[in-house]
Subunit: 198 residues, 4 copies
Amino acid sequence: MGKKRGPKYEQIIEAAVRVIARNGYHHAQVSKIAKDAGVADGTIYLYFNNKEDILISLFEEKMSYFVEKIRMQLKEAETIEDQLKTLVTMHFKQLAANQEYAVVTQLELRQSSSALRQRINEVLKDYLWLIESIIIRGKEKEAFSPHLNEKLARQMIFGTLDEVTTNWVMKDCKYDLEAFSEPIYEMLLHGFKAGVKT
Amino acid sequence: MGKKRGPKYEQIIEAAVRVIARNGYHHAQVSKIAKDAGVADGTIYLYFNNKEDILISLFEEKMSYFVEKIRMQLKEAETIEDQLKTLVTMHFKQLAANQEYAVVTQLELRQSSSALRQRINEVLKDYLWLIESIIIRGKEKEAFSPHLNEKLARQMIFGTLDEVTTNWVMKDCKYDLEAFSEPIYEMLLHGFKAGVKT
Amino acid sequence: MGKKRGPKYEQIIEAAVRVIARNGYHHAQVSKIAKDAGVADGTIYLYFNNKEDILISLFEEKMSYFVEKIRMQLKEAETIEDQLKTLVTMHFKQLAANQEYAVVTQLELRQSSSALRQRINEVLKDYLWLIESIIIRGKEKEAFSPHLNEKLARQMIFGTLDEVTTNWVMKDCKYDLEAFSEPIYEMLLHGFKAGVKT
Amino acid sequence: MGKKRGPKYEQIIEAAVRVIARNGYHHAQVSKIAKDAGVADGTIYLYFNNKEDILISLFEEKMSYFVEKIRMQLKEAETIEDQLKTLVTMHFKQLAANQEYAVVTQLELRQSSSALRQRINEVLKDYLWLIESIIIRGKEKEAFSPHLNEKLARQMIFGTLDEVTTNWVMKDCKYDLEAFSEPIYEMLLHGFKAGVKT
DNA sequence: GATGAATGAGAATTCATTCAT
DNA sequence: CATGAATGAATTCTCATTCAT
């Protein structure tokens, strides 16, 4: 049974990100991760139950930090508009700041079996809910159309951010992702505002 | 080398869709596909160069039909608004009508190696360009904001449609996907109209 | 059952030599031979029982011609010494004149299964016996040592000619094989003369 | 990558000799070798890079021992004549002592692809050079004809020994191979001595 | 006679996981 | 705690041969 935490736990996760980013999901063997982490193959299994568990843990670890950072910034934002802007900006900013991780989440981890992706989605739920709560508050405060379907609006936000980021990663991160924050924010905002008296 | 066309070519593609949808990408062995298609294993290789070629061909075949159908419907649409509406509606309608295929594209085929996904993206380009051309015409006809970034708008459309469809597939296609056409269309339209005097 | 003879019989044999020489034994598929011979795959089986039969027949055909040519030349040779000289010279001369065939016999056909090589040896027997008969006559005429073991002497002749030819083929036939006739003849002759009063 | 040596390295090589001798080259599957060696299939790949590597290693291992043994015996031989005699005797003696290995080298290993045989020839070079050096010394010491072509003489020796051994193996090793040492030695010696004053 | 589309058996290799030390 | 040697299941593709036309 994986007994989490300990210095090696982090080492292994970091090694997994590096190995997957460099070699691709399908060439990221446990033995490579072990070597990169500076531990023996068997040691991996003292910290994780199996290979899938490494990937889930990697995603959990990184994602909770990702969401936490956004959650904190959102507290600074006063209006709903500012919150939406903050969300978009922070999403791009964090992924642009960690391109190795971006490659892993946008491209490599998607090659995992559908079973694993189900579990990854569980981890994502926290973030999706954060997005949805902005929509809900936007409707309450009449900043967004009262007819807005919250789930669909959330899917539009996440789908758009994800597609834009994936395109950027597939172009080898060679242009400025954060520059898209403003136009994406604009389009989303207007999409949600429709019918609101201004 | 695969000499395409012939009745068995279609049989094998259809069998591949069924086998992948039922067993998942990683358990879709060539022998299973052959059996389901009612041909010998070796026969597969008279029509396809290798397993990957089956998947590419499957996607090409289905996707070109998918796009062609939308392209034809678009001709009926007079205004840009109608065209956007048609795009969204037809996208959902066709995937809703072929749930087995939807599972294959939204979930299973994404597990393919990055090499294969590169080739899948090539096939997608035709569709992406069709979407982008609607945006461009929309700007020309001043139906959409003149400041609209065409690529980003295209990514918003595709990202949204894809995310909505994937969520639907992951919920086992148990609700009505086509019902989302209207609200999604509305959000997208307003997102693009922004700043246009009406 | 292969009903030999007919123009295609020869075509197929010649095609087999060419295909094996160019592609190597392991890449000489029946379909390639058929194509090169300008007949359908199935036609091969009207003239030969199976793939092995093509190879055996090829060897038989070529070998009987090879031996016949030597046998005829031997008639011109008056002394045993001349006969030995003729044998060596003709062996090299014929292989040097048909390098494609030399590659096939010296390198490619040896990769065949031991079962096939057993049958090839059967075909060789005629030639081996021709060699042996020279030895025997040499002993009778007291040109060779009376203690000579005929089988061993024959193996020495054939082993030497074969090794020399194989080395030549492995060096891409790029030096003059026939030039070795004289020195090889000399060594063999003296090897057999040993102890004979001269 | 194969980390040679260790008790299993030897086990696997010995198993390969047995399996090939019994089943023939083409039926010597890796799994059979593993089973015979008493290890798991995968273990093979901890010691060898691939199947071909087993065969090369087998040949290297055995051949270097074979040559070393002859080299040592040659030191005991004072005259060139003794050396030639030793060479012939030891060649036959060692193969006669290990009939399973003789079958492998004389028949089975020759079925390998030309790529593999190229590598086998590399290993053989050491032995061929040992033979050639005897010829050279023989000429220097005027035991052999000064006109002797060293390469051809070497090919005569090796070709003869090889042909005699192959004939013996094809007759199921059922007569005494070593008994041929003397007559073969005699023929070779006289072949090389020609023209030498005695 | 001639065709060629269809058949289907057979094997090397990888890599997540274990467990004796 | 940590190690790393050993395990063994699992799958694509080739090609000699057949037989309906």
